[in-house]
Symmetry: D2
Subunit: 284 residues, 4 copies
């Protein structure tokens, strides 16, 4: 059974749920999942969002369906939409530095079928995680970086992303700030920040948390944007800590939160559940 | 703006989302919330569930709409459904014994607008919580019970439920087992069990939990059925405990879980989100 | 059985656990609870903290014991300490404005024996919660406040705190900023902030959280200091929220977190578990 | 700096904290951590437990210290105790079948310094996880098992445990029930059960949980005893699930809980924090 997932957004008006679901019903396609959300008080009035998973069955061709959807549904109501076919598996690039936790976590989940994607390649600014990547039979590229070589290194990464046909970049504790130029040219980028944003932005959030004496630490997965640590948040979680823990122990406790939060965010993105609206996300 | 909430269940088939949403779209009624769920592997094949909140607007009469829905939508597909109008506020009865925590919690939430209901009356087998009920200006009835008088006492309760036009009975730490006969005659009954069911059924669950040395304790809100502590679970939660806690301290920690779990379950029921299917519930 | 709780802090050195516990052993007093913590990397070198609960039994007089402890234990090692006797119940003042949740919560817990204190009085800048206070038979004082009358109103509060022999002030959603002068003259003050500090300081934290699109909201109980929302944190917790929740719904969800966090912090303070060290607290 | 951890238990009596801490103070050894707990209502009266971490410094020999502790402290009060030296790293055996999650998790934590141990070997009844073990450079033994060969296979495992000088056996989703005879002869065994014990004992707990319609699933790490799933619980945790999840999705969500719970339990055991008392554990 081949499925497709449609993500749709438009100004709100009566009858949208019926229109969208009616479109697929008329094609004889069964709707396996449907959820919608209306943001009543958006900046430009009420806005409607819907996610549908349909069984493509013995349907018409994809191109025909897409054209019909655009002309019959989207255009008349000013809607924006995207579609993903489950037999076209997304390809992700994982960017790392030295910490292997998130890399192992993503690779293992992918292998166990938890993440609907292929890991096309692993890129690092160090050679350290090469054997970890190889133990999962993943392509690994070490691209060292200095202040001077940053533009060239980013160009190399962009080139690799293109050659490997990458749909999503995951920063799995990649300890470099990506340039605005890179972010404009690259596919979507998800970052894991090891702090409970918006608290503790920037470097060494666990040391900041320790100094402030908080009782919980957290991690935040967000889309990377040019404003560092200000991108739309996809997922967050926290863990309880004790005053007796050193910053190093916070790092240890934090790792368990980081990897779970990152995996949930990547999964939500891959399942086409995440809608970005300004600085917020809606996860349908 | 007056709203109505529809809860619908039927055997699954293609086109149901479109049919239901189309029905309201044709009446010119805006769908404010919609969620649906298909249980693929039910005992009698795939089954479809949907909850819709619609803005009644300047619509046709309610009776006409209900008749149309039955004949055009429900009957053709073998659907069961119910509808609630938000201007008809549900009336609940709270049954208590001596522990005031859940009573205060429900009364305060109701007063603050968190629970869409009126508390029609409070019934107890003791006089102890009379002043608590009165401080919220609630009707209070003390109906003592002994083994011998149980049938009469339950008859009195049933009579009060009828006279006060009660839609839902909430057992807020009512320390009596209701008879099968009562449960058949009464409106739906939600109970809070101070254990993480199915572990620790029956009496003194915190003492059982202490003796077993568990590291978390929980509470379970469920519909009361003739099989004690076996009714469909609506909501559960847990709290972490330490080996140093006595059973009395578990009671204290547990109270915070109980009241939150009970309130969430009552709210979900009142918002017409809960579907019972055998021993399970789906909370849409 | 009468108990005493000792809280002790000094520069770290070998033998402190033995010295402190030996002191009470020699007096024939059983140590019921003991916990200690050494902060290795404090600003002024390693620092030792210990909390002991002892059974006073048929011991020597309290004054004698205190003098001995000071001369034999504390002075030689440069220690600071305090002692509380369980038969001298702490007296707290609860300051409120219009939101009744935390007031009900504290009053009910006190009544059920969860908080080792008496609620000496309730003070508000509005009359609204008078009947709530009275339903628990608590003294209630309404002291309205304007920009102009703030110094006088605070003086009135200080006077009430003195006359009612108050040991701890609890700001249970008191919507006024206390002056530095007040904080210097008053007993310790615990505040509940309805945000996960240090994020979302200042007013309307739930609106800030909504605008930023966070996935969890929190509450923070801290000692009030002249730097608003910067005082040492005693306890924090969070609750998961959904993108579909309005700021008003965040308020509802947040209330459940606030009251539990505030109650835990007040309890920890009353049980003499909290040590303040700069901007951090250690909860033994 | 070399450290030792002492775990001590005896009937309660006044002066024990002072005695134990005094012993090490007199030897000039600094106490780095100390915690104690008195179980007041045990089956054989009040019982005292204490854990101490001491800096061995330039102390006397270990044998002398141990002899002195036994004769001066333990024997006079009927105490039982054990000691671990931090320069003698514990050696663990990890038993697996086909699920790699817990194996990867333990191996990675060990490598990152989170678990104070060496993984001496990995034993499986299948060959499937050989490459996973090898990617961490761990010895791997595949010992297939049938009903008939069970005694021989267990004998082989016991032989390997002896030859590799193993202190702790970790069942990381080992899908075989160990015989009573094995458990008597082996070092301590920690098992991860993928259910929230005591609910859902036995096989397929996620399917049981799904059928019962619970709203949270859990995992339990416990010492293996001859009564399956009845051993003393070391650690538990839960995760929230939705009615829409299939048993397979429960498995996925559960995996994240299992590995964290198992790692915490193994760590607590290795840090010599766990005291078993009947069916309960105290984690100091």
């Amino acid at each position: 059974m081949t499925r497709a997932t449609i993500l749709f957004a438009s100004p709100d008006r009566p009858g949208l749920v019926a229109r969208l679901s009616g479109f697929f019903a008329e094609l004889g396609l069964n709707i396996l999942e449907a959820s919608n959300y209306t943001e009543l008080h958006g900046d430009s009035g009420a806005r409607f969002y819907m996610r549908l998973v349909v069984d493509l069955g013995a349907a018409t061709t994809r191109a025909t369906m897409e054209t019909s959807f655009e002309t019959q549904i989207a255009t008349p109501v000013g809607g924006e939409w995207s579609i993903g076919y489950h037999d076209r598996v997304a390809r992700i690039a994982v960017l790392v530095t030295k910490d292997p936790t998130c890399l192992y976590d993503l690779a293992l989940r992918q292998k166990q079928g938890e993440l609907p994607c292929e890991i096309a390649l692993v890129i690092s600014n160090h050679a350290m995680l090469e054997s970890a990547a190889q133990s999962f039979r993943l392509h690994f590229y070490a691209l060292p970086i200095t202040k001077e070589t940053k533009p060239q290194q980013e160009a190399q990464i962009l080139d690799l992303l293109t050659r490997h046909d990458v749909d999503l970049v995951v920063l799995a504790r990649y300890m470099q700030v990506l340039s605005d130029d890179f972010l404009i040219k690259a596919p979507p980028v998800i970052n894991i920040h090891h702090g409970f944003l918006p608290a503790f932005q920037g470097a060494k959030p666990y040391h900041q948390a320790h100094a402030r004496g908080v009782k919980l630490i957290g991690a935040t997965a967000h889309y990377a944007t040019k404003d560092l640590d200000e991108g739309p948040i996809i997922e967050q979680d926290v863990a309880r800590i004790s005053h007796a823990m050193t910053p190093d122990e916070l790092v240890r406790v934090g790792r368990d939160v980081e990897r779970v939060v990152l995996a949930r965010a990547v999964r939500a993105h891959l399942e086409r559940r995440v809608i970005v609206e300004g600085r917020r996300t809606f996860v349908l």
